[in-house]
């Protein structure tokens, strides 16, 4: 063996300086590789480092040349010709126990020499083939920009259609054109009673009143004219914001408690809820709505009230669910940032940027560096949820980590313009002082630890680097002193910062939100998402695939405002397309892009790409981002007005109704269902609730602190129900409420027996049935059983019963009475059957 080794050394000694190009492989080099290196790799390394393994350790594979060239998490494994720079050599020499390979033993000296030799002579490696790994970015951004959703929206010529009379709006041309190309014939129009019920639920989430039905059904004007009156009335109603605000709350993972490990209440979250409802009611332009939620604290405002509103908007960033028990402060912060990146990416742009935390996005052109570019923006932001990550039971709601609002409810409105303030000189000075002290403490602690380690291992010499006079007691004392000093300074600093960003500190007028941090910094890539495994620092910025020119971020601010403005810029069309699609989804039951929160490669493609662009351009153009205009436009289209009638012919071609040839039969959301039931029963309080029941929770963990009081007496609309994570009201939960920790633009629609059981047996449903029965039985205008039945029908279904239906119900009630039920009970049983029926639960 030794002789052979010498022999090989002899052969290669003459090769001299080396050139790394693969094509210049010499036969000798190949021979050496085949003889000494390939078997060695195979014997000692492939077990963990081969592309056939599903998880190659450290991202490194050694069964191809590109495997070691690209290397793993720690970079290229071998630099040809350079032994000292090749970490493979460093690893096998096992000088550093943390970085020793193979992990459980050491290669023989001759094997080590062979590997060194191999590197020295230029690492000749005849193997080709692509390694299976994604440790380094292979994403081609330019190529990525060609994907449909990353391209700017384009206007198209309106399609010609045969039936011009059918067209109410250009929307109809796109719809009809597609249908014609598939040989689909659109369903007839829905009758007026069906239509007003549909539009009423769609726009305000409540059933139409009998008067509204009567007026609309009997209106001598054309449907177009009559419907417009109805729609305008609904859009002007304060209930519009309650309906569409709740849609938005689904998307932004609205919740009124921390959730997860330590589920503390968020007693101020409802202010964000009200902000959302008001914004929809006031028809706040959508671009402004986006900017306020991401960076409202950085906007100028005309008075205190607007300043408050804009601050409350940033609650968007603060109400994610968190793991308060996380001990590692930095990991905690990066997890919060992850939630912020996820919600920002998906809510506004349907972009699953969160996927790029640990590796380049597997489907979309979003490299890890894009993720950390955005992470830098949020890392330079303080998230003010009221809680920090302290371990144990000490997480008290902390007013220093909340926003104090300026406008006192009873105080006269101030009209002084308010500018977002920059940190004062004193703050900056304090901040630097703290940083310096902390640094000193860290270095002292390190020295102390080294000293103790050395003492423990009973080495006579303390440490070569340690000066002889090192005094552990004194050092310990100094560390303690520093810590106290830091505590004091940080408190001062906190007060100053709070005053600056909040104005008032001593009022209970608080809100969740965000503000720029004292420390504005970029974020380092965390390799494989591992907090402690730091890679290169990435300048703050936005996803490259959506911009050829990064917005200029000011060095002394987080860049949130610029980021927010960029999101609503027309240079890319994701934001407008995504919102148009969300609105379409809620009005048609299906989006033009079905995956409303995912416009990436793994999402679905639009069924009507030209229509989507057409609407997106109108939304940002003529409509000036008005959601109400957008809804009005879609609802007034002919396409919205179709009946839900089945057609064998169409069904055979398009069973999923991808081309909207009929209206989808749509299940009412949990909220609409509860509101409708109570509205029929006359028990619904239509005034907005003030605040939230969550405010009444005792401090501390929900579940430990007695939990929520009964919701029985809560009679406001469902949007005002307390959304405590893990304690979502049963009614909502059973009917597929959006999971309150995740971005949900499209709720599940499950039809399961627990729903049936709820409608049949739950006390709430029975009480609402009783109340309805009482209401109808005591209504003197209704003279007999038939009229009362018809009245119930009108309230519940928005129509009157047919003769056959009437006689069926009469029979039910009569028989129930015959079986000994009191008249009221029998009538209530009939009402409950209406509530339980599919017709009540669905909008046709």
């Amino acid at each position: 063996m030794k002789n052979l080794f010498l022999f090989i050394t002899f052969i290669f000694a003459g090769l001299g300086a080396y050139d790394a190009k693969a094509e210049e492989l010499t036969t000798e080099g190949i021979a050496f590789f085949e003889k000494s290196i390939r078997p060695l790799f195979s014997k000692h390394c492939y077990k963990c480092h081969s592309s056939s393994k599903s998880e190659n350790k450290g991202g490194l594979v050694l069964d191809s040349q590109s495997g070691w060239m690209d290397g793993g998490d720690s970079g290229p494994a071998v630099i040809p010709g350079k032994i000292t720079e090749s970490i493979l050599i460093e690893a096998i020499e096992q000088k550093d126990s943390d970085f020793a390979m193979p992990p459980k033993y050491k290669l023989s000296p001759s094997e080590i020499d062979n590997l060194k030799k191999w590197v020295r002579i230029g690492a000749p490696d005849p193997r080709d083939g692509t390694p299976v790994k994604a440790a380094t970015s292979t994403i081609n951004i330019a190529e990525g920009r060609k994907f449909w959703s990353f391209k700017p929206a384009e206007s198209s010529t309106l399609p010609d259609v045969k039936d011009e009379d059918w067209v109410n709006d250009p929307i109809d041309r796109y719809i009809l054109d597609k249908q014609a190309s598939k040989k689909l014939i659109p369903a007839a129009d829905a009758d007026r009673a069906t239509l007003i019920r549909r539009v009423s639920y769609d726009v305000v989430g409540l059933p139409p009143t009998p008067e509204e039905i009567r007026d609309f059904v009997n209106d001598p004007a054309t449907v177009q004219v009559a419907l417009k009156k109805v729609v305008n009335g609904l859009l002007d109603s304060k209930h519009f914001g309650e309906r569409w605000g709740r849609h938005w709350l689904d998307i932004v993972r609205y919740g009124e408690s921390v959730g997860r490990t330590r589920n503390y209440p968020f007693p101020f979250a409802w202010k964000y809820r009200d902000y959302v409802i008001d914004s929809f009611n006031n028809d706040k332009p959508y671009n402004q709505f986006v900017i306020e939620q991401l960076a409202g604290d950085l906007l100028e405002s005309k008075d205190n009230r607007q300043s408050d509103e804009q601050h409350i908007a940033t609650g968007f960033l603060a109400m994610g669910s968190m793991d308060l028990n996380e001990r590692d402060k930095e990991k905690f912060q990066l997890d919060v940032i992850d939630d912020q990146i996820d919600v920002t990416g998906r809510a506004f742009m349907a972009l699953t940027t969160g996927c790029a935390r640990c590796h380049d996005h597997k489907f979309d052109p979003i490299p890890t560096t894009d993720y950390y570019a955005m992470a830098g923006i949020f890392k330079s932001t303080d998230t003010l949820s009221g809680y920090g990550n302290r371990q144990g039971g000490g997480n008290k709601l902390n007013r220093n980590t909340l926003i104090s609002l300026r406008d006192k409810q009873d105080a006269p409105e101030s009209s002084k313009p308010v500018k977002p303030s920059k940190p004062s000189a004193r703050e900056v000075k304090l901040h630097d002082q703290v940083a310096k002290l902390k640094k000193e403490a860290r270095s002292l602690t390190d020295r102390l630890q080294n000293f103790r380690k050395a003492a423990n291992s009973k080495q006579k010499k303390v440490s070569a680097n340690e000066p002889k006079k090192f005094n552990p007691q004194q050092t310990q004392q100094r560390i303690k002193q520093i810590r106290n000093q830091v505590k004091r300074l940080e408190k001062q600093l906190g007060n100053l910062t709070n005053e600056r960003s909040n104005g008032v500190t001593n009022s209970g007028n608080l809100a969740m939100g965000a503000r720029d941090a004292q420390n504005i910094s970029n974020c380092k890539v965390r390799i494989r998402g591992d907090v402690d495994n730091r890679g290169a620092e990435v300048p703050r910025g936005v996803p490259q695939v959506l911009t050829s020119k990064q917005p200029k971020l000011p060095p002394k601010s987080s860049g949130r405002l610029e980021f927010a403005k960029w999101i609503t810029e027309p240079s890319h069309s994701l934001t407008s397309r995504v919102m148009v699609n969300r609105v379409w989804h809620h009005l048609f039951g299906k989006g033009i892009v079905r995956t409303v929160d995912n416009f990436g490669h793994s999402g679905e493609r639009p069924s009507h790409p030209k229509l989507l662009d057409h609407l997106a351009l109108r939304f940002t153009g003529e409509m000036n981002w008005s959601i109400k205009d957008l809804i009005r436009t879609i609802v007034m289209s002919h396409s919205y007005r179709l009946a839900s009638q089945h057609s064998e012919n169409n069904y055979a071609i398009d069973p999923d109704n991808e081309f909207f040839w009929r209206a989808n039969v749509r299940r009412l959301e949990a909220e609409a269902l509860r509101d409708a039931m109570m509205s029929v029963a006359g028990t619904l309080n239509l005034d907005p609730a003030k605040g939230s029941l969550v405010q009444k929770l005792k401090a501390g963990e929900v579940g430990k602190n007695g939990g929520l009081q009964s919701l029985k007496s809560f009679t406001h609309r469902s949007v005002y129900l307390p959304i405590v994570r893990n304690y979502v009201p049963e009614f909502l939960q059973i009917f597929d409420f959006a999971e309150s920790s995740s971005v949900i633009g499209r709720r599940d629609i499950t039809t399961v027996s627990t729903q049936a059981l709820f409608l049949l047996n739950d006390r709430f449903v029975i009480e609402q049935s009783n109340a309805t029965a009482k209401r109808l039985l005591s209504d003197e205008r209704l003279e007999n059983q038939e009229e009362r039945i018809a009245g119930a029908y009108l309230l519940a279904f928005g129509r009157t019963p047919s003769g056959a239906e009437l006689s069926q119900f009469r029979k039910y009630i009569d028989e129930a009475k015959k079986n000994g039920q009191a008249a009221e009970v029998a009538f209530s049983g009939f009402i409950q059957a209406l509530f339980a029926s599919a017709e009540f639960r669905y909008a046709l």
Partner: protein, 451 residues
Amino acid sequence: MKNHPTNFTRRDALSMTSCGFGYLALKGLLSSDLQAAGFSNPLSEKSSHFQSKAKRVIFMFMQGGPSHLETFDHKPELEKSGGKKVSGKAMLAPIYKFNPHGKSGLMISEIYPHLAKHADELCLLNGMHTTSPAHPQAAIALHTGSQNFVRPSMGAWITYGLGTVNQNLPGFVTINPLGRLGGAQNYGSAFLPASYQGTKINVGNSMANIKNENLSDPDQRRQIDLVQSMNRGMLERVGKNSEIEGVIQSYELAYRMQSAVPTVMNLKKENQKTREMYGLENKETNNFGTQCLMARRLAESGVRYIQITHNGWDQHNGLSTKLKKNAVATDQPIAALITDLKDRGMLKDTLLVWGGEFGRTPEGQNKDGRRHNNRGYSMWMSGGGVKGGIRYGATDPLGDTAVNDKMHTHDLHATILHLMGLDHTKLTYRYAGRDFRLTDVYGEVAQKIIA
């Protein structure tokens, strides 16, 4: 208070008959017709990825971090080191004695005299470890595989993967779950469809909404018939519609559940001998005994995944009192469950899993307590395709850190799925643009324990 107005007139009510529809009852639709019509029941039984022995899981969650050093991890070294300092920490000798049991001679603590009789059925997992030493994180990770994000629980994944056998009962039932430490998240379905979430049942109470307080059974049947006739009328008007068909089916299921659930929950059907065996007649064992017996009845009736919970295993002190009390409360019931399943020929296809979120340190605390230990602890499995009478994995001689055949929570999940015939790398669900797994990117199946 402003109410929705009700002032419509009689004329209004009656003048709109033109909007009404004719009523035409459809003949009763059978569920097989519904399947044919394109309505698919998310809970219908599905085939596994490969053949497996276990058909169902009973997970006995011992909340708090039971001390492995006093229960299932015999450490003679620690006995010797009691009272001594090891790397600056005062060791506490195990409070209880261990004795060999069964043919296998498995060492089991004296506080489990009943369970010890089943030593040859137990597969002790002595090399467990997990990421977090804090209760909430570790408990959530044990249930959902993730402590950082809201993810579906193991029961939801398994029900998603395999569906359930008895359509008259929920597929995933959790008895007496905790309200804290993640609460409903621990049996939630997160991004999986809601039909896979666990149904909560409390001892003494049946399922929510399973009984109507107002109507007699025949009266309610008449009411349901009325509902169904309206539903069929609607289906007739709309034409083909799988959702309305689903509603019709859900009522028939609900009605059957109303009789099936109370029947399966009715422990009075059990004879006195069985009740005594489970300890239902003793105050100490009644609660957990009831849970165990309910679990057996649910398992027998075809429920896929059953969790029962016993809490209070967080012995920072009181290993000599509270731990003993916990053992007494659970020992006889668990032993009875094993005996009972065996007698019914069900142990071979029922996987029992016992354990808490972590274990405890060899170092003592507060006289007779121990600290949290996520580096090394024990769980055990029995039945359903695992080898009996073996110790798999080990901690170091003092019982501090898992050293051999280590099994992380992710590995536990991978192994449980494997035993159920599911490949943990293939059981995925696409959400937010990517495929999710119970084990994320981790998990190795402990092949050595598979019979």
